[in-house]
């Protein structure tokens, strides 16, 4: 979906319009965002500063007429997200690698919020993060959802899914094997579908449209 690999089959529709991003650049332009599974190797450039990580997805928007990056704009962007997401320590020039797990994840999320995406795909949002930061991130995702952003969370932590998601889709070996609306669903229901469920013939018409 995010254009890292081109889709072999199937169809992606955003706001009813069919899209097939062939590159990550195109996906970002279409309003998609992707917080990858491994922060350290895929999400962040550890040896570069927080500022440079936060501005990475929107460099084109920080340039002046001469297409030169305006340092002031970049600094403002970084400072706004450092305060909004409460990234600690709030040192814009500190290397991303020196932050704690939770703060690193906030930087990655901040990077994508900067591009004001329509759909945020977030993979294992809180793995390897202390409990304090975990709840902060869930609160943040909840706020984003309420503000109208479609969030596709991929996680293997069932409690996290039950607490955060409105709709739950269960997949097994590349096939959808179950779908629930999250009111009163238990972990057991999900596990049953995951282990035994037969492939669902077709998804209801609504599909993944946000």
């Amino acid at each position: 979906m995010f254009g890292i690999e081109t889709a072999d089959e199937g169809e992606i529709r955003l706001h009813g319009r069919k899209i097939n991003p062939r590159s990550t650049t195109e996906a970002v332009r279409l309003g998609l965002a992707y917080v990858p599974e491994s922060r350290q190797t895929q999400g962040l450039v550890l040896t570069q500063s927080i500022t440079r990580n936060l501005s990475l997805s929107v460099l084109n928007r920080l340039t002046n007429k001469l297409r030169l990056i305006v340092r002031k704009k970049e600094r403002q962007l970084a400072e706004s997200f450092i305060s909004k997401l409460d990234i600690r320590p709030a040192l814009a020039d500190m290397q991303a690698g020196q932050l704690s797990g939770g703060n690193q994840q906030k930087v990655v999320i901040g990077k994508w919020l900067a591009s004001s995406p329509k759909v945020l795909i977030i993979d294992e949002p809180t793995n390897g993060i202390d409990i304090g930061a975990k709840t902060e991130i869930h609160k943040l995702l909840r706020q984003l959802a309420e503000s109208g952003m479609a969030i596709i969370m991929i996680s293997s932590e069932l409690p996290e899914i039950l607490s955060a998601c409105d709709r739950i889709l269960v997949m097994r070996r590349g096939r959808m094997v179950g779908e629930f609306v999250n009111d009163g669903v238990t972990q057991v229901d999900i596990m049953n579908k995951a282990l035994l469920g037969a492939p669902v013939s077709s998804l209801p018409e609504g599909g993944a449209s946000a």
Partner: protein, 326 residues
């Protein structure tokens, strides 16, 4: 003009050496020597700029000097056909950009590792240059062409102005444009850059085109100064340019490196080679000392960083602050 700690150390080494050579090397400060240093430096400087941009994306371009000689031969061929100078240079530019595209295509699109690919393209470009000139040199240029390499504006030789201009342009491109920033970021972590929507392939192709362009400018200066085009012009700059770039603080692992550092690195090697020639040392000893200074600066840099960390830790212990989690 902010200088990092490493660049300050490098500047000190440069000034120290300059002072020493001014005192002891015969005629070092003479007008002719200063002028000839300023004429000799641009060729190595331009190739080093091209090499630096490639190295900071954690790549390397072994074929850069043969792109220079091949495009120089194209310019020479154009001139000998009687074409006007700008057209001949354009022919050289096309050749250089084609070579850059060749490197860029295999490295960026197919994903071949740069050191291996440019090892092959180095042989290919050298072979093409040999095939075209059969080893000989193409000469018989119009007088006007000599102006580029030979003339000077006041005390500064024209090639030096080209080099200064190229250094400024490179610095602006690297620090202030999206392409430059993307090159640094993908140099440190190509996956994270790709996952952030950076068009990694396009950025890399432009990097190898840029390096080919620097090679072309060096080629124009060389063919003009040497009044001919030949396959082995500048072939000795390859390893020296990598050494100058690394001496200048650019990390071979990618992601860091400044134009300032590279320019100082080139200056150090230039005054070193000129002064050692003035001392009348055997050229072999010059090679030994060039290698020596590279290793010594690397060791000094390691020690200073090591000492810095040690002092840092001691400082932390003394002030009783618990060190951060990382």
């Amino acid at each position: 003009m902010r200088f990092s700690l490493y660049e300050k150390v490098l500047l000190a080494v440069f000034l120290g050496l300059f002072g020493l050579f001014a005192l002891t090397a015969p005629n070092f400060l003479s007008e002719t020597n200063l002028k000839s240093m300023m004429v000799q430096m641009p060729e190595l400087g331009l190739i080093s700029l091209g090499m630096m941009v490639v190295i900071l994306t954690s790549g390397i371009d072994l074929s850069i000097t043969y792109i220079s000689s091949l495009s120089g031969i194209a310019v020479a061929w154009g001139l000998v056909q009687g074409w006007p100078v700008p057209l001949a240079i354009a022919a050289g530019a096309c050749t250089a950009l084609l070579c850059g595209l060749f490197n860029g295509f295999f490295i960026a699109r197919i994903g071949v590792s740069p050191i291996v690919l440019t090892l092959g393209s180095m042989l290919l470009f050298e072979g093409l240059a040999l095939r075209v000139t059969k080893g000989g040199s193409i000469s018989g240029f119009p007088e006007s062409y000599y102006v580029i390499g030979g003339s000077s504006v006041g005390p500064i030789p024209l090639p030096m102005l080209f080099f200064i201009a190229a250094a400024i342009v490179t610095s602006v491109l690297l620090n202030r444009t999206v392409w430059g920033r993307s090159a640094y970021m993908l140099g440190s972590n190509p996956t994270a850059a790709l996952y952030s929507g950076i068009p990694v392939r396009r950025v890399l192709i432009y990097v190898y085109l840029f390096s080919a362009l620097m090679a072309l400018i060096a080629a124009v200066i060389m063919t003009s100064r040497y009044n001919s085009g030949k396959v082995d012009y500048g072939s000795s700059y390859l390893l020296l340019s990598v050494a100058a770039v690394v001496l200048g603080g650019t990390s071979v692992r990618g992601g860091s490196g400044t134009v300032k550092g590279t320019v100082i690195g080139v200056c150090i090697f230039q005054i070193l080679s000129s002064a050692l020639n003035l001392y009348g040392l055997s050229p072999h000893i010059v090679n030994v000392m060039m290698g020596g200074i590279l290793i010594v600066v690397l060791v000094a840099n390691y020690l200073s960083e090591h000492i810095k960390h040690a002092l840092h830790d001691i400082g932390r212990v003394l002030t009783g602050k618990a060190s951060a989690s990382s």
